[in-house]
């Protein structure tokens, strides 16, 4: 049995590399998908495809439609979603993706530093599990395959 995991959340740190490396070292049969990690490109993809837009809001609007297309396709291919919240940024698209995962019946692992618990309390209460570190999320993935 192979699993596909969607890695939602911030694209400013290298947490996805950490996840992939550890899963590889544990030889778990998991493959990963996720958002465009090149931040500049995820902001400019609308203009890259459709050309210069009249203003900043429309630049954002066109970019977000291609980002949502990508997320929609890849999340539907996934068996589990991991959403990581960091200390910076609004991260409303992460909250949206996490909530979409729950609504699609995709089990959700939420990673957040303890100090973010208060603003994330309602989402944490809906997540299947909430952990604080990438390492703990890996252990949760690993537990799915463990037989004893």
């Amino acid at each position: 049995m192979e699993l596909t995991v969607y890695l939602a959340g911030e694209i400013h740190s290298s947490w996805r590399d950490e996840v992939k490396e550890k899963v590889r070292s544990l030889k778990l049969p998991i493959s990963f998908v996720g958002p465009m990690e090149n931040h500049d490109r995820s902001d400019s993809i609308g203009e890259e495809i459709l050309g210069k837009q009249p203003n900043a809001v429309l630049r954002d609007e066109t970019a977000s439609s291609f980002n949502n297309l990508r997320t929609s396709v890849l999340m539907q291919k996934s068996d589990i979603v991991i959403a990581l919240f960091g200390e910076k940024y609004k991260q409303w698209n992460t909250a949206m993706d996490a909530s979409t995962a729950l609504s699609l019946g995709k089990p959700l692992i939420l990673i957040r530093p303890e100090q973010l618990h208060h603003p994330l309390k309602e989402l944490s209460s809906k997540a299947n599990v909430t952990v604080e570190t990438v390492n703990q999320a890996i252990k949760a993935l690993s537990y799915i395959f463990d037989t004893e």
Copy 2:
């Protein structure tokens, strides 16, 4: 035909009163539901019902389960969800509620100041309509009933 509208979003300003008053003055057949607007109570409802919790995280956890219960019941009774984002706070539960509305097939009206467009671009792209003021949201509600 009567509609029920769930008013998701910040509970620190009086925007819900503004919505209700304008809808009343327009005599639109709409009733409103929403989260507990007393912030302190929404934070302490877990301990109010279950008693003192061992620590702050668990205090939050128990509170959020009652808040989510409330939201779940009331949103299922709603025909439309309006989600308002303000300049302050993380508002991840608002993003979660907005996304849940979309997943349940409830039409979503997003209200946000233009300067928040960038962090809200993916959610805005999924919303049925995005507006900048309460007044515009009222006009959108009113348009549903207009016959010419």
Copy 3:
């Protein structure tokens, strides 16, 4: 038992009035909803609410989001959808609404002049019933209430 019927389709003729009048004269317990029938307003509703847009495409885009919001709310309140195709105009939103009705499990009555059968053949094949006149659609509605 009361039924709500959504009347999708062209807004350039008075077919909805004909439907409503006949249903009233038959005293059938049916109420009707439908799109904004003032064509100019349905084209300008985006700018009416959000203000002047940079160009014609964006004017259309904003208008369509409010029109879709309206349709989404009202169609979910409906038990049956009647979609009428006329000889003029592209009417792609009518085809879209008719198809959405089918996907939502709302029974669909398609009204089209016989000469439009060829381009509408796939939609007609999916509709619950296809008729040629408003009068025939009324008979179909009436049959639902008849006891003998």
Copy 4:
């Protein structure tokens, strides 16, 4: 990860060949399905299987049932739907297929020349992304696989 894309829309030009060729040259792991592209055969398939029909409407009706069967099977196998609208023909089955894709939760890429924006505005507003050329649609597909 391999994706299957359903190519809905007009069968009078060679746009599907253009899509397939470009995707092949980009070595994207995508396979394509779509409607019967031989127009005469898609019109006569009913009589080909069931024999001569009493009149033109019934000839159409039987043909459309086999065309819809085909579309239904193939679209369910697809991860994404691309719908292309051209300048000619009613293309109501394309609007129907595009809308069905959205209702099934299949992400939809809409291709239409800018001058068709007005009649397609409601469908465009529902599509995940709207582009003007086949090339732009390919870029959207490619973006799903890009990692930076």
Copy 5:
């Protein structure tokens, strides 16, 4: 709490009258819907609305589309479906309606004489309850309202 019950099945005997009378005498808050009970009309409704058809098969086809429209609307309004099978006739539409009820999550009460058990065994195994007489079905309805 009021319930609506769809009475599927044969229209050649007066079993529906028996059901309604007994429910009325028990003062249960139940209203009933069901198919057209005038057999001739249910066979000719297609031609009644659309005019003379080319042959008997098409006469049947048009009639069945209006009958299915009726069933679809009324069954969606129902909380429970009762399907009665008698000794005569093919009754394939009854089996279809019973199965549709189950797929829609509508509880199904199957009434059949014991001697029909063998051919109905798979449907009986899926039904919520199987009884042999109208009287037993009434008792099942009554039990839903009983408090002791």
Copy 6:
């Protein structure tokens, strides 16, 4: 706004009366439904309707089909499910009803004495809220209606 609450769980104590009385004294707009509370009748309802069965297992089987019919109808009418577990009995039907509620998207309030936490931990983790007393469940219901 009125809510309907299904009261699942043991029928050997008078906890339902306690719930109803308190809700009445709080004047909350809630009505209640639930299983047959006369234990003997819920065990014999199969034979009461269908007559003497060949053995004890079949006596149980027929009874359970009528009990499940009742639960299915009433739970679909409900907005919230409260499931109470007591110290005695297997209560597997309560676990089943609670799980069905969750699968239907009905918010679930679980009431169990603290000492039952271990065997109920997986169900508790899925429930919207878990409380220990009827009184706490009433507070949870009341909170849904509170405005401050």
Copy 7:
């Protein structure tokens, strides 16, 4: 692309062999599943597994539960359902399976001799296509794979 087709319907003739042979000779990438074709075994499977039952009705009941288990598993694995009705037998399980297929969104090909049109008219009206011979059903399957 490979398809799986469930062959519902009578098990007294060799029509399934005919289907499989023709599909093999056309080299279509289709595999087939279906009910137990050994009639005696499908009637006795309940007693084969659970032992002698008290009477004929219970013998049927246990058999049908294993037959429905089989059908449920295999139909969920299928992309298309073909249901064949013959001149003999009640075939209510065939009508049930055909209707279940439609409710699951599985495209349905109905095969029936023209003389059975009247009793099958409602099911025929719901089926994606209705044909009269196995050969015509094969052509419908083949058309799905044809590219011109």
Copy 8:
């Protein structure tokens, strides 16, 4: 065709080994998944990943969230669920898993000793088949693949 079967139920006996061995000896193309069978680990997995918890209830709560995550992922990968009830323990999570399977449309085979029929009668009535021994469940699986 390969099937995946989730083996829900008690983890104190070696019934899963018995199932797997027999299926292997019959060379059936079935693979198995299920809960963590090391009881101590399934109780301590929360603390293993998240560290020491404040009290026994919270130790259970964290453990159950990881156990439910595991079950949710693996059950969604399954085609059939087998749930075995034994004479000891509360087994409420087994009842919950069995009920979840039914709600997800996964066929359910219930194994229970005859003496447990009374408390399991409602769940048994909903299960696709109920048997008394592992051997009988294997026969049910085998029957799905048998061709005569």
